[in-house]
Symmetry: C2
Subunit: 430 residues, 2 copies
């Protein structure tokens, strides 16, 4: 049974805090292992990458076969049935159309003193995309990382994907083909992150690495941060469904199950104003789980991490949602827009009864790489801005410099930086 | 003597690569020390923070005196002379005016299928600002961190500033007062970062930590990333001046010196098309250094990390600037705008002969917290967006869900996530 809470219970606060604080990932410390993998790749390059790949992925690669050849990509992509290819193309086109609206505009202006100020956006030159292989092998994630990078104007995208036992889901390579990615390496783990961050003879270094991975990948991204940019440290996926009596219990249950089937600490929470709905959703989850291919994984996740919380109002639901700061928040009410302004912390909002979270995973057009583990308090989902950076511009005329000189020289003095002050005063007409 | 390079020399490429790769910071591994400080603060809270503060900062605080009282802030701020206060106010007002133009707009629209898509921006609730104390004690940095947070709509700003030997630059507290910060702790180092990230009895946890610090602060920020957001890992400051024969050698020299006086690995590079200018700038640096209060620090920095590079054209200068990806780039030519589009990687651009970098440090209005150590390849300076996050919105109607169902269910099938597909198909009219 998942956790059942009622906000009217006297012990609600400590129990809700426990739910918020519960760890859903093993916190095995892999930092030292990852540090030695990174050093090894920096020291020995492709030979280290190949050796580590063969050891961890039970693969059989050499420095010269780390990259997929154009023929290998084409052959694998050709195995993908037409309707799958068409579905990936639809997803690609919708993701592209939405992300094109995220492109920022430069803004340069002159203020009343005559100072030119502004922001100019430019693309990152080279990006590395980490795509998990093996258990969780998602062609949709290829699109969700590559399309915003392309829209941003990134000129080189290098993709890495581990191939455990030498195997790969051909749909991954089909998605890469649709996204126009031609540089793909059959590597993963900390060794792939190290190769992308520092470069090897065969793999040119990139400027930023995005995409989710396991604990080794997460630790490696943390360690190379600074040498390259990274997107975020991804944790287990999660959904929060806010529902009132207008919700369909079978639909809500299906959405909770969809999240739970990810396993690996994935969490599904229902917050509802309707006790009857709470009961019927619980029953529906049981009924639908029995029919699911991945019922063992989904049931374990639901029972270990799932929760049903009853509250007295939708306002209270929104308050809890802000404290949970979930990756995905569904608003299963007849008037979802009414609740939107009250939910400040969420990776993505799914509006109304006809918007299951899964539609956003694939073809909605918005990005499915979203902040997990309560990081929606401070982080955004992946988007075009993640592949661009802003340069500020400042330009003074002789008169605007003269107008600003006194306060600037004064502050330089307070900061004991006379050279700063002199670089200003030397330009003044005396 | 600083390094002298000419792009026409046959050994230019390896020598330039060495310059790019040169380490300017000691890479003392403080990770283990920092990890144990963080554990200690998590376990023992304010008692640990006070003990560590007394040990590392030679201070004399208790858990109940970690915070500056309102009276202490007011008294310190009152010691600051009027002209300094006015200068800080001018800086504040100009920074605020510029950053208000960075506020992002929500964008919500409905596409041709009837799908509602959009992005909504909200502020981070609580931010921790790290302000260095001691050697590099900069009231301007208080403004550069606090003002964008306020403009973003952050409701709580907690500031930490170490007070070595119990001393603080009163201008730091005056700047905080001008910026409207009332919650200030006399703590620093990894213990301050840990307290902000995890919270103690006396210091509520924040959602994001910004601001530069020493190696311990940088390592702590890296380790708490995920628990909270962080801005960037700050490295030594740097300037690149691009100059042609129209530049004034004395002004260029003053700007190179202003950067070098930061010490601690700060780097000043001149790239010029004019060999005569190169020589006269070198002579001017020597001449002006002799007059500078911090001449020892500045001279050491200039001789150890400085460089003068002669090139054949401004286009070539821009190419080198992109490879250096400097924090600050000055364009000391008569027509700086002509070169702007060619410089893709820079934290900030300073346009023309009358825009010394130092004006941007204080009163230009743009932010002085900028990406260092070549991270302008992928990172932006601090701004309003750093204190906000984007939530994506997705809403389907029954008909738009029906239109998107087939490709979504197809991709779910390829990803072996039947529960995802079912959460969509269960909603279709049968």
């Amino acid at each position: 049974m998942p956790l059942r809470l009622d906000s009217a219970q006297s012990d609600f606060e400590p129990r809700f805090s426990d739910l918020l604080g519960a760890k859903r990932e093993s916190s095995k410390d892999v930092n030292d292992t990852v540090a030695s993998i990174i050093s090894d790749v920096r020291a020995r390059g492709d030979a280290a990458v190949a050796e580590l790949t063969n050891r961890f992925d039970r693969a059989d690669v050499t420095p010269s076969t780390l990259a997929f050849s154009a023929d290998e990509i084409a052959e694998a992509a050709a195995q993908v049935p037409d309707h799958v290819r068409a579905a990936l193309q639809t997803a690609h086109d919708r993701i592209k159309a939405h992300h094109q609206k995220q492109k920022p505009e430069d803004h340069i202006y002159t203020d009343t003193l005559g100072v030119t100020l502004g922001s100019r956006w430019t693309a990152v030159d080279a990006v590395g995309i980490y795509v998990p292989g093996g258990l969780a092998s998602y062609p949709s994630s290829v699109l969700m990382n590559a399309v915003p990078a392309h829209v941003a104007g990134v000129s080189r995208i290098a993709m890495v994907v581990p191939t455990p036992n030498g195997e790969i889901n051909p749909a991954i390579l089909a998605a890469a083909q649709i996204a126009g990615i031609t540089e793909i390496y059959r590597i993963g783990g900390a060794q792939a992150v190290a190769a992308l961050a520092y470069g090897t003879k065969g793999i040119a270094r990139v400027d930023k690495i995005t995409g989710p991975g396991n604990a080794y990948v997460a630790a490696a991204k943390r360690q190379v941060f600074g040498q390259v940019g990274i997107d975020m440290i991804a944790g287990p996926s999660e959904v929060l469904v806010i529902a009132d009596s207008s919700a369909n219990p079978a639909w809500v249950a299906a959405d909770l199950i969809a999240q739970a089937e990810h396993g690996a600490g994935a969490q599904s929470i229902l917050v509802t104003t309707d006790t009857t709905l709470a009961d019927s959703v619980a029953a529906e989850v049981d009924r639908q789980l029995a029919l699911l291919p991945k019922q063992t994984i989904a049931r374990e996740g639901w029972e270990e991490f799932g929760a049903i919380i009853t509250v007295s109002s939708l306002e209270e639901a929104a308050e809890l949602a802000n404290r949970i700061a979930s990756e995905h928040v569904e608003i299963a009410t007849d008037d979802p827009q009414a609740l939107v302004p009250k939910i400040r912390h969420a990776g993505a909002l799914f509006l109304g009864h006809h918007t299951p979270e899964a539609i956003g995973d694939y073809v909605g057009g918005s990005n499915h790489v979203l902040p997990t583990a309560r990081s929606a308090r401070f982080a955004s989902g992946l988007g075009v801005l993640d592949f661009m950076k802003r340069t500020s511009l400042l330009g003074c005329t002789p008169s605007s410099l003269a107008a600003l000189a006194e306060p600037a020289v004064t502050i330089a003095g307070v900061e004991d930086l006379d050279g700063h002050g002199r670089s200003i005063s030397i330009r003044l007409n005396r």
